[in-house]
Symmetry: C2
């Protein structure tokens, strides 16, 4: 299933900048960055539970926010890209 | 229908900064900002055609990008928010 993860981390403090890097790292391990703070994560239910728990464990809920959008299995017909950096297709052919 | 608009505009030039403001303004007129460059736009099909055309007309396709996610009618069960700034519910009760 495809989950879109969008986050907003308060970077006014050193700790906040650390949280931002950590959130981005967690998302990079599971997905593709499509915007500055937006990742498309193609995960199975177990992987999602693990990623969600890790993300929620990192942020400071009073200043940061996470927004998850569940695009389901037929996610490709729910997404349109216009412009630069179209991004790879995680389910497309592997070009080696 | 709910359309999530995520954008990445190259702001290295003055023109780019102008495009960014313009894209944000167009989205603000039709939706709610949920992340720095992510808006939830509750639109009917005709409004969507108009907004999409306006957004595509503003960006420079070689450096900027737009990504649209069509969340459909039952969008509420496709979205989860954790943390600060949960945002209002555009279809919820109007509190005056």
């Amino acid at each position: 299933m495809m989950v879109l993860v969008a986050y907003d981390v308060n970077t006014e403090t050193k700790a906040g900048r650390g949280r931002l890097r950590h959130v981005a790292k967690l998302c990079e391990n599971r997905g593709q960055r499509v915007q500055n703070s937006v990742f498309e994560c193609l995960v199975d239910p177990a992987q999602w539970v693990e990623l969600r728990q890790a993300l929620v464990g990192v942020i400071a809920e009073d200043t940061d926010s996470l927004r998850f959008y569940f695009l389901g299995k037929n996610w490709k017909r729910r997404v349109e890209h216009v412009g630069a950096k179209p991004g790879y297709d995680p389910q497309g052919p592997m070009i080696v």
